[in-house]
């Protein structure tokens, strides 16, 4: 904890969990989309998010984050209009997601190039988040460290290739947490790698060039 955890953050109100945390969940999707063009989103709200989203602007906050705005951006207030102007379709659904944290959102995004994906996460208080699923695979990260997500094929040697690259080419890089999940043997898999400090420029393109790696994205400390 430091002094700005107490005096701060600067944020758009009214609620750190239902507004600021919601923006940050949206921003994870923004990183997953990674500058590709978004066509529409289906956002499922569960628990307390579903019950009180309207008065807290949770819907605007999630959309604002998806479009890349920050938890301190004044645009959050007009996020619904901004999405319309940008031709981004959106629909909000309400459904209790079994076993999920009370403040959970599931965001299904559809891209103009035909791609799509799903992120599920919760706002766990004080603006902090926990991402629990990406594309149906379990992950667990909170955005407090820089997090590298490596989407790849479940083949022998991929983890070794990624960690060797990180060690030999970027010796100062230290992994603080590592997690792997896969859909099925030989199918799609995700490495969740949290690192200390800021990952160096040039790391991601090199990871992407490793055989059987489909994509690598960086979710910077939010």
């Amino acid at each position: 904890m430091n002094i700005f955890d107490i005096i701060g953050p600067v944020m758009i109100g009214p609620s750190s969990s239902h507004t600021a945390g919601a923006v940050r969940l949206g921003r994870v999707v923004n990183k997953l989309i990674d500058r590709r063009e978004l066509m529409r989103v289906e956002i499922t709200l569960s628990g307390s998010f579903a019950q009180t989203y309207k008065g807290h602007g949770t819907d605007r906050a999630l959309l604002a984050g998806i479009m890349g705005f920050h938890s301190y951006s004044p645009e959050i207030r007009n996020a619904l209009d901004i999405a319309k102007e940008r031709g981004i379709g959106y629909v909000f659904l309400f459904q209790d997601i079994q076993g999920a944290h009370p403040n959970t959102a599931r965001i299904h995004y559809f891209l103009k190039d035909g791609g799509e994906g799903i992120m599920q996460g919760a706002s766990v208080g004080g603006g902090n988040i926990l991402v629990s699923q990406i594309d149906g695979m379990e992950v667990s990260f909170n955005g407090e460290s820089s997090t590298i997500l490596v989407m790849h094929r479940d083949k022998p040697g991929v983890i070794a290739a990624v960690t060797q690259l990180m060690h030999f080419e970027f010796a100062e890089l230290n992994i603080s947490s590592f997690h792997l999940t896969r859909q099925n043997k030989g199918g799609r898999a995700i490495m969740t790698i949290e690192v200390d400090g800021q990952p160096p420029e040039g790391l991601l393109p090199k990871i992407r060039s490793i055989p059987n790696v489909e994509n690598a994205i960086l979710i910077r400390r939010i």
Partner: protein
């Protein structure tokens, strides 16, 4: 390196070195965050400017919350305070208006500084912007006092809580008032020990306050509780400066606050199931805003 596990420790350190708590905290945090004191000061200065803006925004006549439940309180109180000061006098009356304004800015999706939380974001601005604008305190002194407020907040967060869902409103508006009281004492030239006394008095005065937001929104009673927090911050600072200390040391007050928070029923910890939220009118307002959906879909 400073430790933020007790108020007594901060006071001892400041007394030994013959410095203000804020000076020690600025130096320490610059080391912890691996940056310069100047960069850290400037970041805090930005926070103060955002606080000042949030007051300005919230004083607008047409300020309305997202739900429509509240709005315009800062404007009305400011008008009233300017016409002779009311019962509280002009300084306190206008400070109350500013606390309402910043909290109203939050409720209308304006930009605020969580201090320590969004729900209690009116108390520090109400105190500090008032000393800057109505008492002519130098901005540098005001910004420095925020390091003292933040340091007290860190101790409170560690020993008790700053989350309504964990410790009730005493953890949010109570903590903000205690932080503000310590900052006010330092600004008025009080000693580190008097800062601790003001903190202890503010915490004692809000011990047991529950978090019971109507319809789960950060509006009723949160906006007006920012006012009571502010008034307690002012009165606690004045008591300490007058040499009326707290018999119970600040750290023991915080430990008690934690125990009281733990003993609170979950219905009184930000779930909107108890207190004012559960009154017939509270329930009616909830239905008025949210209807029976979407939770029943």
């Amino acid at each position: 390196m400073l430790h933020y596990d007790s108020i007594a420790g901060l006071v001892r350190e400041a007394e030994q070195k013959g410095r203000r708590i804020s000076e020690l905290v600025l130096k320490d945090q610059a080391e912890v965050l691996e940056t310069t004191e100047l960069a850290l000061y400037e970041k805090m200065e930005t926070d103060f400017l955002v606080m000042t803006e949030s007051v300005q925004t919230g004083l607008d006549k047409n300020q309305r919350s997202m739900s429509g439940l509240t709005g315009g309180e800062g404007y009305r109180m400011n008008r009233y305070a300017e016409k002779g000061g009311g019962l509280c006098g002009e300084l306190l009356g206008r400070a109350i208006a500013r606390a309402l304004a910043a909290a109203g800015c939050n409720a209308s999706m304006g930009r605020i500084v969580a201090a320590p939380t969004a729900g209690s974001c009116g108390i520090l601005p109400g105190c500090l912007v008032s000393l800057r604008e109505d008492r002519g305190f130098a901005e540098r002194d005001i910004v420095m006092s925020m390091f003292t407020a933040g340091a007290f907040g860190m101790v409170i967060a560690g020993r008790a809580s700053i989350a309504g869902a964990q410790g009730g409103c005493q953890a949010e508006c109570g903590s903000a008032a205690a932080m503000a009281a310590a900052a006010l004492v330092e600004l008025m030239g009080g000693t580190p020990r008097q800062c601790a006394d003001a903190c202890a008095i503010a915490i004692s005065n809000q011990m047991g306050l529950v978090c019971d937001p109507v319809a789960g929104l950060v509006e009723i009673p949160c906006i007006q509780r920012n006012v009571s927090g502010l008034v307690i911050a002012f009165s606690s600072a004045d008591l300490a400066l007058a040499g009326i200390g707290s018999q119970i040391p600040a750290d023991e007050c915080l430990d008690a606050m934690r125990q009281v928070g733990d003993a609170m029923s979950p219905s009184l910890r930000e779930t909107a199931r108890g207190g004012l939220a559960a009154t017939p009118t509270g329930r009616r307002l909830q239905e008025q805003i949210f209807g029976t959906q979407p939770s029943d879909r």
